[in-house]
C-alpha cells in the first residue's frame, strides 16, 4: 500500500469544485489549499488505519524487509500470538468486564441523581449540580495519589481480614467515581429537556414517586442514558493512567495496559507482527462502535458546548 494512493475524497471534491466555479467564476487559491488540506488529512487517517490492518497480517520479516508491500498471504498467527501468548485476550476480557460494569454502574447512579437535581425543587439542587460539574475541571493528577494510597490500604486490609482482594474492584470503583461528574452533567441536561406534564399525569393516576421515575421518566430518558453509557464505555476503554497505577498483576491488566506491556517487551521478543495485531485489537472495537453509533457519540460529546 503506497502513501501516494489517491484519497477517497477526490471523486467527491472534483465535481463540487466545478459547480462552485460555475457559480462564482473562480476558485481562489485559499479555497484550493483548504480543500487539499482536508483531502490530505483524511487520506492520511485512512492510510494509517489501512497500513496498520494490512501490516498486522504480515510476518515480522516482511514488515522489516518490505514495509510498503502488501502481505504475501493473509496470516492470522499474529493475532493468535498477540491474543494468547502476549495475553491481550486476558486484557480484552478484563477491559470488557470492568468497562461494561463501570459504565452501567455510573449511569445507574447518575440517572436518579440527575433526575432529582433537575426536578427536585429543593434549595440545594443548584449548588449540588455545580458541585458535580466542578469535578470535570479537576485533572486526574490531583486525585490519583490519595486514591493509590486508599486502594492499597483497602486491599491490604481485605487481605488481612478475608484473605482476598482484587485490584480490579478498586479500579472499577475509581472509574465510576471519576466518570460521575460528566455523566451527571450530561443527564441533567437531558432530564431538563423532558416534559413535566407526564409526571403530573402519572401522579394523578396514583403512581408513587419512585414508580413515576422508573416507569415514566426512565423510558423517556432512554436515549440519554444510552448516550451516557456509550460515552463512558469509549472513554474508559481508552483509560490507562489509573490502570497503570492500580493494577500490578499481569493477569489483571486492562487491554491498553497489556498492549503497552507488549510494546515495552518488544526489544526482547521482536514480535512486531503481534504488536500490529495488538494495536488493531485495541482500536477495532471502538471503531466499530463509532461506525455504528457515531452520531450519538458526536452529539453527546458536544452537548453543553452551546446553549
Amino acid at each position: 500500500m503506497l502513501l501516494a494512493q489517491p484519497p477517497p475524497t477526490r471523486t467527491v471534491l472534483a465535481p463540487r469544485t466545478r459547480a462552485s466555479q460555475k457559480r462564482r467564476g473562480r476558485a481562489g487559491p485559499a479555497k484550493v489549499a483548504g480543500r487539499a488540506l482536508v483531502a490530505v488529512w483524511v487520506a492520511f487517517n485512512v492510510t494509517l488505519l489501512g497500513w496498520l490492518v494490512l501490516t498486522s497480517f504480515k510476518s515480522s520479516r516482511e514488515i522489516f524487509q518490505e514495509p510498503l508491500s502488501l502481505p504475501t498471504a493473509p496470516r492470522t498467527d499474529n493475532y493468535v500470538s498477540a491474543w494468547s501468548v502476549s495475553e491481550l485476550g486476558v486484557g480484552f476480557l478484563n477491559s470488557a468486564v470492568i468497562v461494561g460494569l463501570s459504565a452501567a454502574l455510573v449511569v445507574a447512579l447518575a440517572a436518579p441523581c440527575a433526575y432529582m437535581l433537575t426536578r427536585g425543587q429543593t434549595r440545594s439542587a443548584g449548588p449540588v449540580t455545580t458541585f458535580f460539574a466542578v469535578g470535570m475541571g479537576v485533572p486526574l493528577q490531583a486525585v490519583i495519589i490519595p486514591i493509590f494510597v486508599l486502594t492499597q490500604s483497602v486491599s491490604s486490609f481485605a487481605y488481612a481480614t478475608f484473605g482476598w482482594w482484587d485490584d480490579r474492584v478498586s479500579l472499577l470503583v475509581v472509574y465510576v467515581a471519576m466518570s460521575l461528574p460528566f455523566t451527571v452533567f450530561l443527564l441533567t441536561g437531558f432530564f431538563r429537556s423532558l416534559p413535566a406534564d407526564l409526571e403530573e399525569a402519572a401522579a394523578m393516576d396514583g403512581a408513587s414517586g419512585p414508580r413515576t421515575f422508573l416507569r415514566v421518566m426512565l423510558p423517556l430518558a432512554q436515549p440519554g442514558l444510552v448516550t451516557a453509557f456509550i460515552l463512558n464505555v469509549v472513554s474508559l476503554w481508552n483509560e490507562t493512567l489509573v490502570a497503570l497505577i492500580l493494577i500490578t498483576d499481569n493477569e489483571q491488566y486492562t487491554l491498553p495496559q497489556a498492549l503497552l506491556g507488549l510494546y515495552q517487551t518488544m526489544q526482547y521478543t521482536s514480535n512486531w507482527g503481534g504488536l500490529f495485531a495488538g494495536v488493531v485489537i485495541v482500536v477495532l472495537p471502538i471503531l466499530g462502535v463509532y461506525v455504528w453509533l457515531g452520531r450519538r457519540i458526536v452529539e453527546g460529546l458536544t452537548v453543553g458546548a452551546g446553549k
Binding site: T9, R123, V149
Partner: protein
C-alpha cells in the same frame, strides 16, 4: 476521550431553585407530585454523591494535605514539611522543564489546533459529504491514545514506514530520526495536533450549524468571500461555542498523559526533553522501573495543576467575554 467535559458555568441555571424573593406558586408547593419529589430527593441523590465525595472530592482534598508532607505511602511516617515540596518544585530543573513542556503543549498545540480547526470548518462548510469527512478527521480522537502512540511510534521509527516512503520517492534526505530525544517533543506536538483537531472541528461546527442560513445568504449577496463570512458571521455568532472550546482545551491539554507515555514505548520513561507534568508526576510516584514513591512531592504537582487550570480558565473566560448575540 477521557478528556470529556464542559464548563461548570452552563450547568445550574434551570436546576436552580427559585430564589427566596420569588413567590412559589402555591398549587405547586402543595401538589402531591412536588411533595413526593421532595421526599425522594435525598434517597435519589445520596448514592452518587457519596461515591463522588469518597473517591473523587475526598482524594482531591487529601492531595492538598499530603502535599504538605514528606511521605512514601502507607507504612511510612508522614513528616510535616509545610511548603517545602512547593519550594522544591521551583528548584527542580526536571519539574521546571516538564512545566514548560506542558505550557508548550497548551500554547503551541492550542494555536495549531484552533487555526486548523477554523480553516477546516470554513472549507467543510462548502463541501458535500462534510459529515463523512468530519467523521474521518475525528476518529483518531476516540481511539485509545496508547494505540495511537504505539502506531505512530511504529510509523516514525528510523526504518519505519514514514522514512521508507520518503526514501522510495527519492526524498531520503528528508528522512529523520523522528523519535530521537531532541526531536521527540516536536514530533509529539505535531501528533497531538493531528489527534485532537478533529474534536474541535466538530465542536466548532455544532456552533456554526445553529446560525440561520439567511445570514450566509445575505453575506454572499453582499459579495463576502468565505473568509469574510467566517470573520463577520460565523465567528461572532458562534462565539460562545468558541470560548467553551478554548476552556475545554485548557482543561484537557494539561492532563495529556497516555499519548506521550506510549510514544516512547521502549519501556523507559520519556526523556527529560519530552516530559510533561503528568509524566513527571507518574515517574516521581509509582511509575518507572524503580518507582520513587515521593507521594508528597507528587501531590504538590497535582495541586499545582489544579491551580494552573483554575487561573487559566478564569483568565480565558475574562479575555473571551463578549455580549451574547441574540438570534
Amino acid at each position: 476521550m477521557s478528556q470529556v467535559g464542559t464548563v461548570p458555568r452552563e450547568v445550574p441555571r434551570a436546576a436552580r431553585p427559585r430564589t427566596r424573593g420569588q413567590a412559589r406558586p402555591r398549587s405547586r408547593g402543595q401538589s402531591p407530585v412536588a411533595r413526593a419529589r421532595r421526599r425522594m430527593y435525598w434517597p435519589f441523590i445520596t448514592p452518587a454523591l457519596v461515591v463522588y465525595v469518597a473517591f473523587f472530592i475526598g482524594p482531591a482534598l487529601a492531595s492538598v494535605w499530603i502535599s504538605l508532607h514528606r511521605w512514601r505511602g502507607a507504612g511510612d511516617d508522614m513528616t510535616f514539611t509545610g511548603l517545602d515540596n512547593y519550594r522544591r518544585l521551583l528548584d527542580d530543573d526536571a519539574f521546571v522543564a516538564a512545566f514548560a513542556n506542558s505550557l508548550k503543549i497548551l500554547v503551541i498545540c492550542g494555536v495549531g489546533i484552533f487555526a486548523l480547526a477554523f480553516a477546516l470548518t470554513i472549507v467543510l462548510r462548502e463541501l458535500r459529504w462534510r459529515r463523512a469527512l468530519r467523521s474521518l478527521l475525528f476518529f483518531p480522537y476516540i481511539v485509545s491514545p496508547i494505540a495511537i502512540g504505539v502506531a505512530l511510534g511504529l510509523l516514525l521509527e528510523p526504518d519505519g514506514l514514514a522514512n521508507s516512503a520518503l526514501r522510495l520517492v527519492g526524498l531520503g534526505g528528508l528522512a529523520e530520526p523522528w523519535l530521537a530525544p531532541d526531536r521527540l517533543f516536536a514530533t509529539i506536538l505535531v501528533g497531538i495536533v493531528w489527534v485532537t483537531t478533529g474534536f474541535y472541528v466538530i465542536l466548532l461546527m455544532t456552533g456554526q450549524e445553529r446560525i440561520p442560513a439567511y445570514y450566509y445568504e445575505a453575506a454572499e449577496l453582499a459579495g463576502a468571500t468565505p473568509i469574510q463570512q467566517f470573520r463577520h458571521v460565523t465567528l461572532p455568532m458562534s462565539w460562545d461555542v468558541v470560548s467553551v472550546a478554548a476552556v475545554l482545551w485548557v482543561i484537557n491539554s494539561l492532563k495529556i498523559f497516555e499519548f506521550v507515555y506510549a510514544f516512547v514505548g521502549t519501556g523507559d520513561s520519556p526523556p527529560v526533553q519530552a516530559r510533561t507534568i503528568p509524566i513527571y508526576q507518574f515517574i516521581m510516584t509509582t511509575g518507572g522501573r524503580s518507582p520513587a514513591y515521593e507521594l508528597g512531592y507528587g501531590c504538590a504537582m497535582g495541586v499545582v495543576m489544579v491551580v494552573l487550570v483554575s487561573v487559566l480558565v478564569v483568565l480565558l473566560r475574562r479575555v473571551m467575554r463578549r455580549d451574547a448575540i441574540q438570534f
